[in-house]
């Protein structure tokens, strides 16, 4: 029941964020969207992902978007879309959602113990990670040890993004 309520609010926030002409309101709605998403992750027992969503999605993204907004105008300019284009957009959206829905048909049901995600390397992580890595949190053991190269790469990507922004925007400050 609460899942349906959360998903309903997610959709409402997403649609409202698109429809708003006031961009500051849009950004705040996106922050609310991220917080609801964090609750959804918690409902799915993915607390690490929920934490990331709350701190990155709702926290720093909102701050940086508002900072970016301070360099432009707050109100979106009104633009008229010709009806013929609306028809094309509608068709593309319907086709894409049909393909995505078709793709979900093959997914295992939620909590299925025989799902590929639970039968490949997950048992090894759950049973052996404390002996092999020495860290109680399995998520951290996977991120920092089994997939240590990935995390090093991600950190380098963040560093690279920072360098790119410095190269593009560096002024006096």
């Amino acid at each position: 029941m609460i899942d349906f309520a959360l998903l309903f609010f997610l959709v409402v926030c997403a649609v409202a964020a698109i429809q708003m002409r006031d961009l500051l309101s849009s950004i705040m709605l996106l922050g609310i969207y991220s917080f609801i998403m964090a609750v959804v992750w918690t409902r799915l027992n993915a607390v690490d992902v929920a934490f990331t969503e709350a701190s990155v999605g709702a926290g720093i993204t909102t701050i940086l978007l508002i900072a970016a907004l301070s360099r432009t105008r707050r109100m979106e300019t009104k633009q008229c879309v010709p009806p013929a284009n609306l028809l094309i957009y509608g068709t593309v959206i319907l086709l894409t959602s049909a393909v995505l829905l078709y793709g979900t048909l093959d997914m295992p049901t939620y909590g299925d113990p025989g799902a590929p995600a639970h039968s490949h390397v997950a048992p090894r992580y759950l049973e052996k990670s404390y002996e092999e890595v020495g860290v109680p949190n399995v998520v951290t053991a996977v991120l920092a040890s089994y997939r240590g190269y990935d995390t090093l790469g991600e950190t380098t990507v963040i560093f690279g993004a920072g360098i790119c922004v410095i190269l593009l925007l560096r002024r006096k400050i």
């Binding site: 701190s55 926290g59 360099r71 020495g134 949190n137 920092a144 240590g148 950190t155 920072g162 400050i173």
Partner: protein
């Protein structure tokens, strides 16, 4: 009505001074406890950066740059990746593969893994915090 600078509101300044130390302490808690509970370098670094950005929003960019200068934030962004990569090379020097923590000379492979993961989480946190602070300084604009 006299025009006042956006940086002169007493309530804003007092609340920021009160909150920022706790936000940053929480950030370090999140980084250090990533191996026990939810959290880790990425989330902790973001919170650390956000705490400093709150300070910059309240006191202005010039005041913020007095605390963390341009060179410091640039160095922080690079230092975290360096720390992470260095742990990998230390593992190689100790006779293992790159990032093979069990090769580190501690009493047990579990202890070695635990300590190494703490160090690399700290590295991730430093880089993320440095980049977030840099981004805010570059993207944001000074209030009137």
């Amino acid at each position: 009505m006299s025009e006042r600078s956006a940086y002169e509101h007493v309530i804003k300044r007092a609340m920021t001074k009160l909150l920022v130390p706790f936000i940053q302490l929480f950030a370090f808690y999140v980084i250090a406890h990533g191996d026990i509970g939810p959290g880790g370098g990425f989330q902790g670094g973001v919170i650390l950066g956000a705490g400093f950005i709150l300070y910059v929003i309240t006191f202005g960019m010039n005041e913020g740059r007095k605390r963390i200068s341009r060179i410091t934030s640039d160095l922080l962004s690079a230092a975290g990746v360096l720390v992470y990569a260095t742990v990998g090379f230390v593992c190689m020097a100790a006779g293992g593969h790159y990032l093979e923590y069990a090769a580190l000379p501690f009493s047990s492979p579990q202890l070695a893994g635990h300590l190494a993961i703490f160090v690399i989480e700290l590295g991730v946190g430093i880089t993320v915090a440095g980049v977030m602070i840099t981004l805010y300084f570059l993207i944001g604009r000074e209030l009137k």
